[in-house]
């Protein structure tokens, strides 16, 4: 049985058409007349790139010029994870094992792919300094490797419980925060890296971010991906 094709009433659809049509017209009209000569902040970024400590301008913006944005963005990620955990494992505090008996083909694939993904992730982290890449790309590839292993029954994430899991989730954010506060003590402003060590500090932050992002992305999937029956049982039992 296919899912029934049931839609909103005609009135809702007409209203939606009017609203989205109006918004779209307003938006596209504005997009068509954007000024051609506005260079934005690109020249400023270029002029200060040498002082930032890295050669990739996107990394310079993300970790130095607007590092504060990135720190708060990691907070969003941590926050979402806490939210997901509060909806799923508030009582057991464990990662459920997703697949106990995985398909052999998937297991074989995972055995082959996972180490390669770890390598790619390491490369992306290192490359971010001067070429496309960085903590987010590296962390998501590593996280994907974790999901693949969990799906194929290889990972034993259930063994990683409690404090270790929470520490891995927050370590990137905490290192970032510690760097920010350290800069306040040494240089006098939040996230003002000492000029000689900017590159090292950013790389350290990125390395820990990679770990956290990987664990977060994997746990967002693993902690919520348990069979429906299992979840039901747990909810009933928990009340």
């Amino acid at each position: 049985m296919a899912e029934p094709e049931l839609r909103s009433p005609l009135a809702v659809r007409a209203a939606a058409l009017a609203i989205s049509g109006g918004v779209g017209a307003l938006l596209i009209r504005a997009l068509l007349v954007l000024p051609k000569d506005e260079a934005g902040l690109a020249p400023l970024v270029k002029a200060n790139l040498d002082a930032s400590g890295v050669k990739n301008p996107v990394t310079a913006v993300l970790l130095n010029f607007r590092g504060y944005d990135t720190m708060l963005e990691i907070a969003v990620l941590v926050l979402a994870t806490i939210g997901v955990l509060s909806l799923t494992i508030a009582h057991s505090d464990k990662w459920p094992t997703v697949a106990e008996h995985a398909a052999p083909a998937l297991s074989a694939l995972a055995r082959f792919l996972a180490p390669a993904m770890v390598l790619v992730s390491g490369y992306l982290l290192w490359a971010g300094e001067h070429a496309p890449g960085g903590a987010f790309q590296a962390g998501s590839v590593l996280g994907a490797a974790g999901i693949l292993l969990a799906l194929s029954g290889y990972a034993r994430p259930a063994g990683m419980t409690g404090f270790a899991l929470r520490a891995a989730i927050t370590v990137g954010f905490i290192v970032f925060l510690a760097a920010a506060i350290g800069d306040m003590l040494i240089e006098g402003a939040l996230l003002e890296y000492p000029a000689d060590h900017a590159k090292t500090i950013m790389l350290a932050i990125e390395a820990w971010l990679t770990v956290s992002i990987a664990v977060i992305l994997a746990s967002l999937f693993i902690s919520s991906a348990s069979p429906v029956e299992e979840l039901r049982r747990r909810i009933r039992g928990g009340r």
Binding site: S20, A39, G40, V58, G83, V84
Partner: protein, 110 residues
């Protein structure tokens, strides 16, 4: 019309499609999908804007903002999906009407 214009306008169209889907589809998963489609549109506007800068290298600032946006979006998507799944487990429904048939809430302090 430049290449950048083509993509910014396309971003506007994609946002509009997502907005329409969000309003019209009652199913929670479709609502989340619609928001993701719309986010893609918004990001495309940013990347298009970055490309308008004369010269070979685009403006890195919108790129950094989009990267932030992608991470924020996956965070809220993950949470919204967890919420939707929990609603489905609790009510057997996957729409925002799920609360309508229920008795008045009694929030006992715990």
């Amino acid at each position: 019309m430049t290449q950048a214009d083509l993509y910014t306008v396309a971003g506007g169209v994609l946002f509009t499609i997502g907005l329409y889907g969000l309003i019209t589809r009652p199913h929670l998963l479709y609502k989340v999908l619609a928001l993701n489609v719309a986010s893609g549109g918004v990001f495309m506007v940013f990347v298009g804007v970055a490309r308008r800068v004369p010269g070979p290298a685009p403006d890195p600032l919108p790129h950094a903002m989009v990267l932030t946006g992608i991470v924020v979006t996956v965070s809220s998507t993950a949470y919204a999906l967890a919420l939707a799944k929990r609603i489905f487990t609790e009510t057997g429904m996957a729409t925002l009407d799920s609360a309508d048939t229920m008795e008045g809430g009694e929030d006992a302090a715990e």
